[in-house]
Point group: C2
Chain length 326, copies 2
Amino acid sequence: MKRPAVRITDVAALAGVSAGTASKALNNTGQLSQDTRERVRRAAAQLGFTPDVRGRALSSGRTFTVALLTTDSSGRFSIPIMRGVEDVLSAGELATVLCDTRDDPLREQSYLRSMVARGVDGIVVTGRRTEPRPPIDVPLPVVYALAASTDPADASVIVDDAAGAAAVITHLRTLGRSRIAHITGPADHRSAVERAQAMSSSTLVGEPLFGEWSEQWGRQATDLVLRAHPDVDAITCGSDQIARGVCDRLRELGRAVPGEIAVTGYDNWPVMALASRPPLTSVDLRLEELGRRAANLLLDAIAGNPHHGVLELPAQLVPRESTLGA
Amino acid sequence: MKRPAVRITDVAALAGVSAGTASKALNNTGQLSQDTRERVRRAAAQLGFTPDVRGRALSSGRTFTVALLTTDSSGRFSIPIMRGVEDVLSAGELATVLCDTRDDPLREQSYLRSMVARGVDGIVVTGRRTEPRPPIDVPLPVVYALAASTDPADASVIVDDAAGAAAVITHLRTLGRSRIAHITGPADHRSAVERAQAMSSSTLVGEPLFGEWSEQWGRQATDLVLRAHPDVDAITCGSDQIARGVCDRLRELGRAVPGEIAVTGYDNWPVMALASRPPLTSVDLRLEELGRRAANLLLDAIAGNPHHGVLELPAQLVPRESTLGA
């Protein structure tokens, strides 16, 4: 038994907007508030409104699909970014195809050819590192997220790590800490270097300690810091994993966190930041917001208004017990 | 400048197979070895062979896309499963669309309508829990992975947790441990109950301790176990997070792992199992293999040969230092 088809005017009536506004909201065009778009989306879902995607694709030559190309096999960074991309695109009934290249150039080329053959509307390129990467060569709108394209004519959205690192230092100084050491990841990782430089511009005790993105390195480096600077009153870390190792080692040594030594992480990865004893003050990379921004830039490009250059999204301090106390 | 189009016969020649075999390998049909399929895929990638997907879709009415519908927003379970699905499907140039319902029934309905409207070839349904779930109602081939469908006529692939738990007990007995306690997650989670029951059928000291999937619960429960059974010589855990908490607490109490007390985790989640001190003997859920099996069942269903019932994939013991020692 077929129910009568739901029309866009039914959706508009339920959402309390005009049919034109409802159409804009569902197609993600025009200047509408997030609230209006959401109301229309809910109304469409409630009524079971199904835009005839294949019909639209055939008449317009578009397939209404966007690909998220990632080198991050773990999903640690790409899944939150994808959630953000979907937030924006699903309102317009665009499907997001996740393609995992596993950092294999052959696999990346194969995916790109397949996506072009499939006629996707656009591609968001992301990964697990922040190093700028060579642009991909496809005749489609492309936006880079997390790692910028090396071509300044491309549109990229990246995390402003310098802002995040500066926020950590300001936070610690506000709490009266002045003898601050820094432990971070490999010296050839851009994210480690950028965070360390932003912190070094303030007065750190000693040079930043570069090592691995691991808890074990955090524990080892804690001993190095305490030997060189016995009166340190804060240790900032380049990742939550390192910071967790620092907290564990300080506890083993009977040094109170944050009473004697405050500790900060970076990434705001719940698995680490919340399980740490004490829970970590950290810096949130705002990956979902990064995905939303990338999706909006891509929609503009698909609509014929491409952006150029690098948009930096400030990372955000999240204070917890490792600096504030219980 | 356009290069001459690469034909399937070029791919076949480079791979050293017949054109028919190359076609079967790329379309994932027929009975071919994994090695042959891989060789053809590599040859196709090397030559830049692009099947005309849209042409095929228009002529056949198919879009050559498979959707992975998941309730697991973190990607912890769905990303490895997706990798397995892609392993199988990408050889045949099918794209895998990841749809994250965020456990919201409204969002799930909306995705399903959208996927049906888009004419996808089939759907793999997965999640973050192992509880059987109600089937989805779509006129398409569907396979359930990790959580079975409650309809026995559907095809499901799930992890055999009883086999994994039994392997843990056998391993510990082989190592001479006999006074074994069990700490696990919530009593209303199927995965906690199944693992606990499989272990209880052997002789555990005391009842399984149900609590949370957290390191903190692992630490707390360790105290409870030691108070009730001071001579315990092994603690098995329902997750790696719990086991990590157990190891931390035992170290704080000066009890040697595994010298005095062996500890086992479950899930084989590298972030926890490898960072634990000592690294955890654990049980691998084989999520990628689960994805591969699900994809093969789905391909059969798409080809008109649907399977029925529940396929159980035994979880696999991975021994490490927490039972074997350094």
